[in-house]
């Protein structure tokens, strides 16, 4: 809604507003550890550790290579077993994935733990510098979509959104995240802005909802910058990865997507993304996925 308030303001501002680059002198920071922890159903848990950096530092290969937190002790427990995650030092597309810890055996590379719905996982980290971080998250049971389809948008010949019908169970506290990719077009599942929702207002109801295609941040691809932006197109094969998520995962992505989309809004109050990590920033996320395929025609 704020978006439309901004729109009104913008129409006023159009009369004469102007903008210019400014330099801001911010005080030095104490770098904090950033946790990206993942437990997915059927997969071994993994954790990526990095650091925060001063807001206006240039972003490049060097800084990205300096960010990983290497040599940490990372433990995950499912309440019965506790495993230490193995640090992998690999790189993909020239980007170092240092600070990458996986629940795989360091010799056999077989999983030492597998995400099982209904299980509560706890995460404990001790970095080489002695910082201690921890978190707890529950991997929820799957709630698959009833049905999925493609629908052309009014007035548009071949462009439209992906639609789905969900029957929310009659227990409060379910939260969801939507990802989708086009076969042979997208390399990975994309979460459009607004990808998370919870059942506070829809508890126990069945209803239809659409999602747009979304794009990666600052995408320079032509289809993300012309009239096809955010739309699926007739002929697309859309794979939907619909996840039930822990409530803390919902809160983190609600705030994070909000922060990204309201950057600079004069109406927004700047605030931190709500995190379930004690001792640092980031998120210990849980995803239980169910998959659907839509042929757009």
């Amino acid at each position: 809604m704020k978006k439309y308030l901004i729109l009104i303001l913008a129409s006023v501002a159009m009369m004469s507003s102007c903008e210019k680059n400014i330099e801001l002198d911010l005080p030095p920071i104490d770098q904090k550890v950033v946790v990206e922890g993942y437990v997915e159903n059927g997969l071994p848990p993994y954790v990526i550790l990095s650091k925060t950096e001063p807001y206006f530092d240039p972003i490049g290969q060097n800084t990205i290579n300096n960010l990983p937190v290497r040599g940490a002790l990372v433990y995950i427990s499912d309440g019965i077993d506790t495993v230490q995650l193995t640090e992998l030092d690999t790189s993909i597309n020239g980007v170092s994935l240092g600070g990458f810890y996986v629940a795989l055996d360091s010799i056999t590379f077989l999983p030492t733990m597998i995400g099982t719905p209904g299980t509560t996982y706890s995460l404990n980290i001790i970095t080489a510098a002695g910082e201690q971080l921890s978190s707890i998250a529950k991997l929820p049971f799957p709630i698959p979509l009833d049905s999925t389809w493609f629908k052309v948008q009014e007035d548009l010949d071949s462009l439209g959104w992906a639609w789905a019908r969900l029957a929310d169970p009659d227990t409060l506290g379910n939260a969801y995240r939507w990802f989708a990719k086009r076969l042979n077009k997208d390399d990975f599942f994309i979460a459009p802005i607004g990808s998370v929702f919870e059942d506070r207002f829809i508890n126990g109801r069945s209803f239809n909802f659409p999602y747009n295609r979304g794009s990666i941040q600052n995408s320079e691809a032509e289809e993300d910058n012309n009239e096809e932006a955010d739309y699926y197109k007739k002929g697309d094969t859309i794979v939907v990865k619909f996840c039930t998520i822990d409530f803390a995962t919902y809160e983190f992505w609600r705030d994070a997507e909000n922060q990204v989309s309201s950057n600079g809004s004069p109406f927004a109050v700047p605030s931190n993304v709500k995190s379930n990590i004690t001792g640092g920033r980031g998120l210990f996320a849980t995803y239980t996925a169910s998959f659907d395929t839509i042929i757009a025609n």
Partner: protein, 810 residues
Amino acid sequence: MKYYLLLAIGLFLFSTSVSAQENQKKATISGYVNDSTSGEALIGAAIYIKEMQKGTNANAYGFFSLTLTPGKYTLIVNYIGYREQVLEIDLTADKKLNVDLLPNGIEKKEVVIVADRKDKNVQSTDMGRVELEVDKIKSLPALLGEVDILKTLQLLPGVQNAGEGNSGFYVRGGGPDQNLILLDEGVVYNASHLFGFFSVFNPDAVKNVTLIKGGMPAQYGGRLASVVDISMKDGNQKKFKASGGLGYIASRLTLEGPIVKDKSSFMISGRRTFIDLFLREPFIKSDSRIAGNSYYFYDLNAKVNYTLSPKDRLFLSGYFGRDVFNFKSADTGFKVRIPWGNATTSLRWNHLFNDQLFMNTSLIFNDYKFEFGASQQEFDFKIFSGIRDYNAKIDLNWFPNILHNVKFGGNYIYHRFTPTNAYARSGDVVFDLGKVTRFYAHDASFYVNDEWDVTEKFRVNAGVRVSYFAHIGPFSRYVEDPSFPGKFLDTIDYAQGRKVADYLNAEPRFSMRYELNKSSSVKASFTQNYQYIHIASFGSVSLPTDVWVPSTDKVKPQFGTQYSLGYFKNLKDNMYETSVEVYYKEMKNQIDYEEGATPDGDVRNNPDNNFVFGKGWSYGAEFFVKKTMGKLNGWIGYTLSYTKRKFPDLNQGREFSAKYDRRHDASLVVVYDHSKKWTFGLTWVYATGDALTLPAERYFMSAGPPVNIDQSGQVGVNNNFYILSGFDKRNDFRQKAFHRLDISATLRSQKQRNYETEWVFAVYNFYGRQNPYFIYFDVQGNSQDGNQQVQAKQVSLFSVIPSVTYNFKF
């Protein structure tokens, strides 16, 4: 116990008045001061007894009363912009005296802007009280030519603007909800159009504006920071008049005249924007992509009054205003309609019990509504909020003798608050957004106040206000699970009329003046105020979505204490008025939303479940020099101030600057009456930049699990990253300083058969200063090349804006 003690003090003051009156045989001169051409009451006109070197001021209805020992007196009656009248009176018995003052021609206009007895600045006990005469502010430059009363108030020391072009204001470190804005006694809950760029007060319909920013007398209450008391024109009692104008933003038309000459009159005034008239056929085809988008606002003011008898007069006045915004996306079929606005009605009865006792009784209704409706294909979404009051009020003004001016009365308000409620539907499925939640409350108060000349040099103004507030049912308190927002452990239901929480408080008000000599005085004041209704705002600026909520079992009333001390001196036979005031103010039980709260958290919940509470304080010094006479007049004001907040649950419990903590705030106002034809105006303002929270650090998060495995086993790597911001200290950064020069020139045509016209040419932001409005961050370059960077960009709203406004009168 403390309440009764204070009441006793109040009653004591009261009784001293009575006994003083009984000492000697007395006679009373009383009556009304009016404009001789229109019959409009002259609020605050000065009536001065030369022999006694004492006087009084006409009240809000133009009434005055002086009780003296019989004898011969010289009465001097004056009001700014009017010819002084000197009357010789032989007072033997009670006497009625209505004084009609003749307005000066423009060429004789001596004093601009502020209506005062010439030495009222020094003589009164008022601190931080300013009256604006609306006719006179029209020659000052205005944004897009739209004259705005509230923006003129911002030019006074101690009053800060709420940002570029904004009509909102902050008084002595108080929040925007701490200003009581009254229009003919009706509360105006949201005084702005178009997100604050214009206030709802059509200057053509307004007669008089009084601002009280410190030493609030006991007849006002319910807010911590200030009172803006606005009186609508009564309407010309003598002849029919029309006036109006055409500007960039809006056009205006006002009609007024007698219904029964000298007995009854009416005034009706309208203002409307007209840009939307160009956003439809024939200017834009109905199938155009931008068809269906529009924005407009309008205001309607109307008033009638009737003199029933020499002792009774009735007034009925009303205001109705709306903003309406329509948006339609041609692509997606997304439609939005947002209407919002105020309505107020007041019925008032003036009654004179006798020459010394004046009463006004008012019945007031006011209503503020906001609605947001959106629809797209199968979806419908609506949110709405508002506040509605039924208000009854009785105010008595008793003039027992020339040493006392006693005011007392009572007020009862029944509030109905509608916090943010929502309705949503997808196809035939209605979302469960809970039943409509409302708050209901009783709000009652009594006050007594006496302005008393204790000695020749020493005058006190002392009073007490006793206020009672009760939040009552029907109400459902949702007891939230602290570890799981939105999940309720329990719901406590209160039946209709059952008390949820109540508060009883006494608010002492005291101010005094000690006259050092004829041209200088020192003044001091001490006031305590309670505020029972509040706005907590999600945004950093006031928006029509801001929701008023009452004090409840969770929300304690705001409590403010203010001390101020001032030195006032007039120079060169009152040509210059100067003053220095210092103040210290403490505010308890301040309200804010918890960190990271969003408006949807209020839906199907009690909004106060998302509040956090803390305290605030503000102190400062205000310097003011005003030239009141001559062709060149105006003022310079400067304020040095500090405004802080401390909330245990915000900023990790550390103290922080309020957004509008402004170290320096200065303004210069100059009006030059060049000739009958031309008047020139100039204003310059300077303010320390707003306090602002900037991110301290950034971090990267993959937008989803980096390792992607789909159901066919195909593996992908998510390389979509979000750059997230980490914040540390709240409001720890400053925007660049704000300064701006505006100029105007008014050209008046010569009067031709009662038809007068006026062209106002103005330039806003004359030297094109790019004042900061907000800052945002743009990620530039490519991370693969290693030259990606976050760039801060400052957006300014208005550069140089010229405007022309045409006004007419006949």
